[in-house]
């Protein structure tokens, strides 16, 4: 059902982090960019849509104080807002916002200067017209106002609600979903410049490593190997799937078809179909093993969910699969 394609080999191997793959499609320029974290830097590969030419570049997490080695990057992700696209890097010391090609640093938000306490940030999402949201270790979510141009990024709001470190964020228009290290999920809605809680889902102690939202359906991928499907407006559970034998490290949903991918430490990626109903449902579609690779990143390349790519710990390859 899915055919393996030629991989793209990056300049460095993939670090063991959740959601360690971000894809940015530029239809007008017929280019697709891929970002994967390698220790203290991010490897970016820009490929033409037909895959014939690949250009690699690296974005190094810039460190204002040179006294303490380079901080590990925890996540990198492109955020596409209606008026602006940026690539965001989070590390144990702060949040860095770059122009989408990684060339220029737009903004640097410091979280900590002490070496004995990490204030790591994880979870990146763009909400509404101009909000960039980033989760922190303290469980709060920082809301930045990202102007259409220039470096005047301002911290607009800090959302509190999580009692353990934020693990991932996902968004759809004005809706923001956040998850934490104990598996709790909160759904927020932006109205004007303020956010309000819409619903919340209890966790069972296992971290919710990755989130996806599609047509109001919220899906969480958990460290216990479970997928849970919720109605985002009501918080009511639609389905609980024993999906993987190890932690799920990343999930992604295709915007047009509602196809969902989950990748796990158990070397498998699995594909699912979401069914938007009052109580949302999920169906199993496909399963594939990537030999000896603990998968840490998985994304659809196109909006229909026909092409997907996965990354695994310690490997420099982005593996591609195409629906036959």
């Amino acid at each position: 059902m899915y055919r393996k394609e030629k991989p793209i080999t990056l300049k460095g191997s993939t670090s063991a982090l959740c959601n360690n793959l971000s894809v940015f499609l530029m239809p007008d320029r017929k280019q697709i960019s891929y970002a994967v974290v390698h220790r203290a830097l991010v490897n970016i590969a820009c490929a033409s849509t037909d895959g014939t030419s690949v250009v690699g570049r690296q974005v190094i997490c810039k460190e204002p104080s040179a006294t303490q080695g380079l901080p590990f990057v925890l996540q990198s992700k492109w955020v596409c807002l209606p008026s602006r696209t940026v690539i965001v890097l989070t590390s144990s010391r702060g949040i860095q916002i770059f122009e989408p090609d990684g060339s220029a640093l737009v903004h640097w938000h410091s979280l900590s200067d002490s070496s004995d306490q990490a204030h790591l940030a994880r979870g990146i999402a763009g909400v509404g017209e101009q909000f960039l949201c980033v989760g922190t270790e303290k469980g709060s979510i920082l809301v930045f106002n990202l102007p259409p141009k220039g470096p005047n990024v301002t911290l607009e709001d800090t959302l509190t609600g999580h009692k353990s470190p934020v693990t991932d964020l996902a968004s759809e228009k004005d809706t923001l979903v956040s998850a934490d290290g104990l598996g709790y999920i909160i759904v927020w809605k932006a109205k004007g410049s303020s956010f309000t809680q819409v619903s919340s889902m209890r966790g069972d102690g296992w971290a919710c490593n990755s989130l996806a939202i599609w047509k109001g359906i919220v899906v969480g991928g958990y460290a216990s190997g479970h997928l849970r499907v919720y109605n985002g407006n009501t918080g009511v559970i639609g389905a609980e799937v024993a999906a993987h034998a190890r932690a799920i490290n990343a999930i992604d949903v295709s915007r047009e078809s509602g196809m969902l991918i989950s990748v796990s430490d158990d070397t498998f990626f699995r594909l699912w179909q979401l069914r938007p109903m009052n109580v949302p449902q999920i169906e199993f579609r496909h399963s594939e093993c990537v030999s000896d690779l603990q998968l840490v990143g998985g994304q659809f390349v196109d909006d229909q969910g026909r092409v997907l790519c996965v990354t695994g710990y310690d490997s420099a390859d982005i593996n591609f699969y195409i629906r036959a």
């Binding site: 063991a16 830097l41 380079l70 353990s164 296992w206 460290a223 389905a239 609980e240 070397t267």
Partner: protein, 379 residues
């Protein structure tokens, strides 16, 4: 990344080092006790050497420093720490043997971290190492006390951590071991490692404790009732029914972290193996000042201890093999001088370290002044 990773990395690497040394010491024997050829007792020979090493590794003040929240050392600094620790006894390792020892230690622990069923198993792996270490020093009261003190610290620090915190620790460890692909013959023989240095991850088998086998969708309706819809999962998994014990004498129910060497399964790296470090290793260019401070401390602990009855341990089958392996390698002193460039005049930087320093010199009965320690470090 997690600031609680260093103790686990340090103890588990140390545990692997002791397994290897124990096995090699048994195999090679110590010159002074070789009189009764072929008659030495396998167990007793390594004992004094292992005692010395365990006592240094678990020195109370050093362990207290290790347990303070901090970022991990760079690979180079970590390697230096173990180089120093290995040389606290009368045993001497040349550069090639030390390289081999460190490669074996790191690959063994990388294997354990990679294969751990769930992140919390890292504590069980550590406890396996701890109970083995405790057995090595059973007859030595002071060393055993130090090991038990460390055990208590481990439980205090880690037993209550959540899955999420352990997951971050596991990721931090995996990223420390990233791009290390040395082939280890014991792994190749057991078919758990590929020829390219990667571990074989066979699907199926036992599941992490507290999870359910994949293959079921619990589908809810509006009233909250559910029905089960199965889907096919090719390898079959079995759920684990019991959780490992954190008790010092208890059963961890975890085989990772136990001694994999024995007389019939000797320590060996693959003959032609080289560790492949690909990509840029940025962290080595910027030594962490904290790691340096700890190296200072450790060097002070160790540097003062000079013994004359040294003997050489060989991690290879024959001396010739060792020499051949050593030939292309940079002399160990040169590679180190970049990391441990200890300036004794700046020692006062940390009041605490100075205090510890004072304490330690009394402990080991050294009357040497700072410059002597410095000489020892660079020798």
């Amino acid at each position: 990344m997690s600031c609680k990773t260093l103790p686990l990395l340090f103890i588990n690497l140390g545990g692997e080092m002791l397994y290897i040394l124990d096995q090699r010491l048994c195999a090679q024997g110590i010159p002074s006790e070789k009189s009764q050829k072929g008659k030495w007792s396998w167990k007793r020979i390594p004992v004094p050497i292992l005692h010395d090493i365990v006592s240094t590794m678990f020195n109370r003040r050093f362990i207290d420093e290790v347990f303070k929240p901090q970022t991990l050392y760079s690979k180079k600094a970590m390697r230096t720490v173990f180089d120093r620790i290995a040389h606290t006894s009368i045993m001497r390792l040349n550069a090639a043997s030390m390289d081999k020892l460190y490669d074996l230690m790191t690959m063994a622990f990388k294997y354990q971290v990679s294969l751990a069923l769930r992140p919390k198993d890292l504590l069980l792996i550590t406890l396996n190492h701890m109970s083995a270490i405790r057995k090595y020093v059973e007859e030595s009261n002071p060393a055993r006390t130090l090991v038990e003190y460390t055990y208590k610290l481990l439980i205090d620090t880690y037993a209550s951590l959540s899955h999420g915190e352990f997951q971050l620790i596991r990721q931090t460890l995996l990223n420390f071991f990233q791009d290390m692909h040395t082939r280890v013959s014991i792994f190749l023989k057991d078919k758990v490692q590929n020829n390219n240095g990667r571990f074989i991850l066979t699907p199926g088998g036992v599941l992490p404790f507290g999870t359910e086998p994949p293959g079921n969708i619990r589908s809810y309706d509006e009233s909250g009732k559910f029905r089960n819809i199965g889907f096919q999962v090719v390898p079959s998994y079995t759920a684990s029914t019991k959780e490992g014990s954190y008790d010092m004498q208890g059963d961890t129910l975890c085989s990772l972290g136990k001694n994999m060497y024995s007389v019939s399964r000797p320590v060996e790296t693959s003959g032609t193996s080289t560790s492949v470090i690909q990509g840029s290793d940025l962290d080595t260019s910027n030594p962490d000042p904290l790691a340096k401070a700890h190296l200072d401390l450790l060097s002070q602990l160790i540097g003062a201890k000079v013994t004359k009855n040294e003997f050489r341990l060989n991690l290879f089958k024959t001396d010739q093999e060792e020499e051949e392996a050593a030939a292309p390698i940079q002399p160990i002193e040169t590679s180190h001088s970049q990391v441990i460039n200890i300036d004794a005049s700046k020692k006062v930087k940390s009041i605490e370290l100075t205090k510890i320093f004072g304490e330690m010199t009394v402990d080991v009965g050294s009357k040497g002044d700072d410059s002597d320690l410095l000489d020892l470090m660079d020798s």
